[in-house]
Point group: C3
Chain length 473, copies 3
């Protein structure tokens, strides 16, 4: 069955005719703006090697935990979706079978962001003009599969077609960044940059922490057996990342706690972290100290700092045991920014050389904590609605609860935070549409003039991200 | 004064003409569907005995804590509303006087769900065509009173007129279920089933807990002085409930905490619970352990498990002393599902034989905790907006915050959770209207196609509840 | 550039034509009602002395922490905005320069309540008909400056022009209230009353607490070195405030915790508080005990009690060190009303002689805690959306989350809570418009009849505040 509304030009605009007309006019200012993607998790190897993507299932389903966790929640085994097991036991490898299973359950995604971007990708990227059903599954599979074999569906071609101005990936300090070096030396004009994600070497609970710290010492030729050597190694590595285009660091902590211990306490804590597992409170103290150290280094080297706290990782031990991390079993928890960030803000909150972009999985903090903090401290900006809230309703709640206290200028624009490359145009388009719809309402009830809203629409879609992430240079 | 809008056909539909037209079309698919009421607190004696309801006040006001607590909050003594005192001191017994007092304060209910269902019941069930005021109070009282004397206003006749397909009540494990047996043996075709509510025998803080456990032993002929005998007795009693149609259990805990102690710890904790009052932490541990035991039994016997946590019961000691439990003084508190449920989910979260339906009084958990949990664990479903949130705005917030992460299929449809029999048609109608209005918005902004929304409307009104509560069999 | 929408007659009304038409009709009932302002922080000296306000910057920018903290968050030093330093070091004193700096950054305020009331004041009070920009800054400055020199822009004239029926200020128990006495003896008809704000003498962490308690003893000739003398002094001072028109007290605590210690414990705690700094838990216990004592005194003397908890004051130590309190660095925190207020409510929650009006900075408590509490306890009322939430979206969320459980009658109407005198008409107008828009939606979807909504609009704008604050007498 074909669907007349498969991708309406008015999608996500308010139904009221006055608001919709304004939203259309605002959207006309932003629809064709280049994509600025300062935070994400695509694989730089795609752009370094520029090889064809594998089959549709391997591209769109198998690696996407948003997609397979929804199917899993309805009783479909991950094995049948091709998600690899850690023990190497067999899982489905036939992309077509996986795709059919997915298509049969497509109705489960009604109303979800996954459905939105997949529909957008099918329609806009692959030219599919019929609805995905059990009946159309094979036809659509074949169409995508055929596309993927064409040169214009290789990563670099899609990057250009998607009109991406800059795309940041995220790497560990231990990563040699060979792909980024290869991209740079290839002569290709696409701007793909890295971001410094130090969790493996600053979180004492991270798998392999001690070995990672040792490796960090080897890479940087610093003595990471001492606190001062460890800090030097990190500063050194940040410098290396910056030399390959990085403008930001990214920190995925369980909480927003920060600490400001004395140098002696830091040294002692660090030595105990090197010796063996820390007690949970000490691990928390160490991580929180490292946020402060990272802020201090940001003041020095100018890298923008991002903090993504609040996920209870790997909530499901059976899934973790069988399939590993990032399998849709990370669950948000309450987060306290007001007390948590205070030690860091006491030190650097008034320092304009620092930009600290905050994200949350606890929407109750938007109006209560994050907007008041960002509406006061020069060092703070608010990142966009994140992860579970990177969705039309989530984005609307973000604007409604953040704007009146923080304004628009203390936000950092949109970022897609995705590992699903094909979702990038859709995600930015959704954000632009939702923001235009939001602004349209405020124009319609005379809170903003339309010329102001048009300026803001461009800021939200483009300028704020460039500015917050220092991408203008 | 008559009110043209006493019960508009368009009530609760979005005012925007586009959305309203869609909502009307969607509602046409669901308005006449039978009522599935898998969770509630009506009195099975009504359907067993089928006697006439007493006067209007005794039917609609005296037993409804939503109604009398609002009047109480504005300074009206509960005695004057006929709420019985525990000490037997006199309270108002004249139904007409109570009704007049209620009618004089009817304006206090503007905007509340109580006003909605009472208006619906007056209009649709009793044919009242004027607004309730001090002036109309007597006329309306007489009309209702006259109706209640007619055979077509007896419980079974109303059950049929309300088009109820199945109605679940809730009983203690100590209840002999004589009414349910009588209904079954009466030859009446109405499907009235029980649900297993074990709080009196699994909550060590429950009044009479020790005597209750002893009584449980007598009823089941198990030795409830030992942990294993106690568990056997519970399993036995669940079986008895299932034999009288029960498909579910219901658990009303102060928190969502669960525990997975060793058998030795369980035995020791149980013995101490039998000896005397437990320390609060131990009572919490015992209750939490019992949730895990109940889940284990559900895996065995297939009963669907419902968890309703988060009420601080009997917050007002004076009201509790004078009037007892369930008098409008239960106040919600913050609830932590992510850490609380982990021990239970570690054991049974991936087991498709378990269905655990979660409710909340803490809306901040919808998007942060409940939707991510239900959108991942096969054993979890989300119950509808509950108690204080069983209202148009509450239902809207539920859909807006839950759907994008959990989808529609991880929700369990509507249930009315009411002891007010006459409110049942109104409550289901409100839910259907609000859901159709919600879906209409998403059709109007092209997030859903209308044929999909029509399917979903039927799911939300009918199929999901039947499926989640295993009522199809 | 002139702006056609500088102040639209339809501002803040819903864009849907049906809702907007209803909102207009409802607003016609309330637009000209007198302003009842039962809680605020204007300076009584203005009305006692009736001197001209200084220049535009000193009136509108320098004292307004909402305004300068937004500019500060974007990197503008407070010194350049004329905010005085504690160390007396120079700050900008040229009002015109400050005004220009403000005008250049006016776009930062898009979508904020500050922008709304400033636009309203410029347009309605000063007759400005062009948009504020760098280009128009001087012209607008000159126009305001010229106005301020006219007698019709003196405080009393504006008070009358603003149609203020009653205006409450807030004073410390140590304040001799000379301005209020002067206003009373002046023969001027304006009703300006005080409110009793005892934080300086009941919060042991308040700067100068011990000296303040001693001063309280001197003023009242009670022995404030004993618990009983201290209580007598407070009761005495409340009486004095009441004699100058006060109908309320105001309490700005970090949490909502209350305590009900034995007299012996109170005496001991008080003695320790007099001796020196209390441990944080003891300071909390003392403050919480004092809330209970204040409630007890309210039962006796009839003063309405207001509780404003939840701000983490002076979060930014550098700002506090250099500029002092109330500089935009107070950040909300989570607040627990259910457990916190229980000791107080156990004592006085059912006592109709007490009116306790609750405010919050934690919106997650609206539906979960505050509406259920206010919808039950006769002593409780909910204050309006407060501080960061005194804004169109904040007010809308308040009504949407509070009304279905608490109704309208358990709320206390609007109050402006402002120290910005010129913002008062705008703030009340915004509240009236948002409430009319809210009611219009409920009329449009048939939850209310329009005549009911018209009554409610008047209640929300006028009657409820008069009644809750006992201003009718």
């Amino acid at each position: 069955m074909t669907s007349p509304a498969l991708l309406s030009d008015d999608r996500l605009f308010p139904p009221d005719p006055t608001e919709r007309a304004i939203a259309r006019r605002l959207y006309a200012h932003v629809r064709a703006l280049p994509i600025v993607s300062p935070h994400g998790h695509t694989d730089p190897a795609w752009f370094a090697e520029n090889e064809a993507f594998p089959d549709p299932a391997a591209l769109l389903i198998v690696p996407d935990h948003y997609v397979f966790r929804m199917l899993y929640s309805q009783g479909i085994p991950l094995e049948s979706l091709g998600v690899p097991r850690r023990d190497g036991k067999p899982v489905e490898r036939d992309g077509r079978k996986i795709w059919r299973l997915f298509a049969e359950h497509w109705h489960l995604f009604r109303g979800t962001p996954s459905r939105m971007w997949l529909t957008h990708a099918l329609s806009e990227t692959f030219g599919v003009r019929e609805r995905l059903t059990a009946g159309s599954a094979d036809r659509i599979y074949d169409r995508i599969d055929g596309c993927l074999r064409q040169p214009e569906f290789r990563p670099r071609a899609l990057f250009e077609r998607f009109n991406i101005e800059v795309l940041a990936t995220t790497e560990s300090p231990l990563d040699p960044l060979v792909h980024h070096r290869k991209i740079r030396s290839s002569g290709w004009s696409g701007r793909v940059i890295t971001a410094f994600r130090p969790d493996p070497v600053v979180d004492p609970d991270y798998e392999g922490f001690r070995a990672n710290v040792a490796a960090l010492g080897e890479i940087t030729r610093e003595n990471t057996a001492t606190w001062s050597g460890y800090l030097k190694a990190l500063a050194n590595r940040r410098q290396y990342f910056a030399s390959l285009g990085a403008t930001s660091t990214d920190h995925g902590h369980p909480t927003a706690a920060t600490f400001d211990h004395s140098p002696g306490e830091c040294e002692a804590l660090f030595q105990r972290a090197l010796e063996g597992p820390l007690a949970p409170e000490d691990a928390e103290r160490f991580r929180g100290q490292m946020l402060l150290e990272m802020a201090r280094m940001s003041v020095d080297d100018g890298l923008v700092m991002q903090l993504h706290p609040g996920a209870c990782r790997d909530h499901n031990p059976e899934i973790f045991r069988d399939f590993g991390k990032d399998k849709g079993a990370d669950i948000p928890t309450r987060t306290d920014y007001v007390r948590g960030l205070k030690p860091l803000l006491d030190r650097f909150g008034n320092d304009r050389r620092l930009t600290l972009i905050l994200f949350t999985l606890d929407e109750s903090t938007y109006a209560r904590e994050l907007a008041p903090l960002a509406g006061h401290y020069p060092a703070l900006k608010l990142g966009p609605a994140w992860w579970f809230f990177d969705s039309p309703e989530g984005m609307r709640r973000y604007r409604e609860t953040v704007t009146e206290t923080a304004g628009f200028s203390n936000t950092a624009g949109f970022n897609d935070d995705t590992r699903a490359f094909l979702s990038i145009p859709a995600r930015h388009d959704v954000a632009r549409r939702v923001d235009c719809g939001f602004l349209a309402k405020w124009v319609a009830d005379h809170r903003l003039d339309e010329d102001e809203a048009a300026e803001l629409a461009v800021d939200l879609a483009y300028n704020l991200a460039r500015r917050a992430y220092k991408l203008d240079d």
